[in-house]
């Protein structure tokens, strides 16, 4: 990267370390932290949206919609979520390719041949002619969808509980004022439920943060991938030979996650006190007493 790093064999000590830590592969390693944060920033709102839909569906008066909502919210109970992370991307990938095969391929050739799942070249996703970054991006997109579906189900659980926790009397009052069910949900239920949902959602965010290293299992070049790649011992054939340093890389990742969870905790504490203001809960009552 820097001109002084042109010949690392001549360097020593701190200068060597600086050059080592700014090599091209290390820059990719630093960028992969961005991948993790990108995944978090996209997944969290999408999962919240899925969860919202699932929770509303589970309360719906239309039976098939309610069944769907109930199945969606309860599917993650009892089954380790890593199974979903392994299952959803493959299932989605095959689903997409199967749909494209129906459109683009010769229907006389079966897709499933023995143990193989084969679609014609035109239906491959991404196309085998597309550059490597498209493959990377497709992998990340599948991972984001898998994370959103799984965490959406968890969020639906939390939001359903929060909706049930809104005092019944408030909803009945709204009905007595002549509001329609839709108005009751929009004006009373949804604004009121957040204070009950926040502890659960905060917990969920922490869990989402701590689930991000699973990107590695999904084959995305994330921080775990680069830590293994860069940390493994390098012989003198490499520009920067060093023994097995993987433990230092993993310790760095560990510290990154500790900082993430620690910072999130601070932020959630502030939001929690903001949302308890004026609520008929123990926390709200304590704030009222402190103020007077």
């Amino acid at each position: 990267m820097f001109a002084s790093c042109a010949d690392p064999k001549t360097l020593e000590g701190l200068a060597w370390l600086m050059c080592y830590l700014s090599s091209g592969k290390h820059v990719l390693f630093y960028l992969s932290f961005g991948t993790v944060i990108l995944l978090l920033l996209i997944t969290a709102p999408v999962a919240l949206l899925f969860g919202f839909g699932g929770a509303l569906a589970a309360r719906s008066r239309i039976a098939p919609l309610r069944w769907f909502g109930k199945v969606y919210t309860s599917m993650v109970r009892g089954v380790p979520d890593i199974i979903f992370f392994l299952f959803v991307p493959i299932a989605l990938d095959q689903g997409f390719e199967w749909l494209r095969a129906k459109v683009f391929c010769d229907p006389s050739i079966p897709i499933r041949q023995g143990n193989e799942f084969l679609v014609c070249a035109a239906a491959k996703l991404p196309l085998s002619t597309s550059p490597a970054w498209v493959h990377q991006l497709y992998g990340i997109a599948l991972a984001i969808i898998a994370f959103s579906i799984v965490f959406g189900a968890f969020a639906a659980n939390v939001l359903r509980g929060a909706m049930d926790a809104v005092p019944r009397a408030q909803l009945e009052t709204a009905e007595a004022y002549g509001m329609s069910p839709r108005q009751v949900s929009r004006r009373i239920l949804i604004p009121q439920m957040w204070t009950y949902a926040l502890p659960g959602l905060g917990n969920l965010w922490m869990i989402l943060v701590k689930a991000t290293p699973l990107l590695f299992i999904l084959g995305v070049e994330d921080i775990v991938y680069w830590a293994r790649e860069l940390g493994g011992s390098k012989t003198s054939a490499y520009a920067y030979p060093h023994p097995d340093w993987r433990i230092y890389y993993f310790l760095a990742i560990l510290v990154f996650y500790l900082l993430m969870t620690w910072g999130s905790e601070r932020i959630f504490d502030r939001i929690r006190s903001r949302l308890s203001r004026g609520q008929a809960t123990a926390a709200g009552e304590a704030m009222r007493k402190a103020a007077t």
């Binding site: 009892g78 380790p80 890593i82 493959i90 701590k210 940390g231 993993f250 560990l254 620690w262």
Partner: protein, 275 residues
Amino acid sequence: MSQCLQTVQDYALRAIGIGEKLLPRSDFTLCQQVTLIGSGLIWNLYFGFLALFFGFFLANALAVARFSRNPWLRKPAEWFIFVFRGSPLFIQFFVAYEALVQLPRAGIDVLGITVATSWMTKAWAGALLVLMLNTAAYSAEIFYGALRNVPKGELEAADAYGMTGWRRYRRIVWPTAMRLAWPAYTNEAIFLVHATTLVFFSGFPAFRQQGDALYYASYFADKTFNPFVAYPIVAGYFILLTLCLIGLFGVVNRRLNRHLPGAAKRLRYRPNLIR
């Protein structure tokens, strides 16, 4: 049918190295998948139960240390809990594996006796250690919350009876704390058993393809390019396992609450997912 019996004989204990050496390679039958994935469940049970057992004692000690007023006890417990709860289990596995590999190959000399270290890098020991420390940290936080919520009246009653120290803790504080913590601890136990599926996807290698249920499920899914058979099988096994755990912990819950008629509510499983 008899073919399936043969498969069960060959593969039911494959995960612990008994039976057929080679895994099936082609023409996978449903029977093979159910048997082999079920055989992998042995490892999930092994990790789950031993980690919970040892973790329970460690968690109690940690909770008491965290509750103590002495900073020399409290601070280390707080840091331990923060590190293990604040970082992903997946990364903890990697760090532990890399750290254990650094131990000298030849063994450590303790007072003239050479203690072998190579077994620590094997999954059965190393991953068990990580899972134990991890569940101890999460459970300690639960137990600490319960210790804080022991009713004041019970402590005053203990004082009135002249109970102090260890006797007060054993007879009054601990049983009440357990009673308060049990529903949350049940959930923690379930997450831990679910988390055992991570072991063979992290640093720890599967020795001679002896892996857990998910290891075999992903083996079949990779070989057949069909995720719609193997993963539902392993999911089904875990739903059964979860129901068994809820039943088992429910028995303990009823026992803890036996002096309070009607207090033993049905344990509800609120998933808390991966860590």
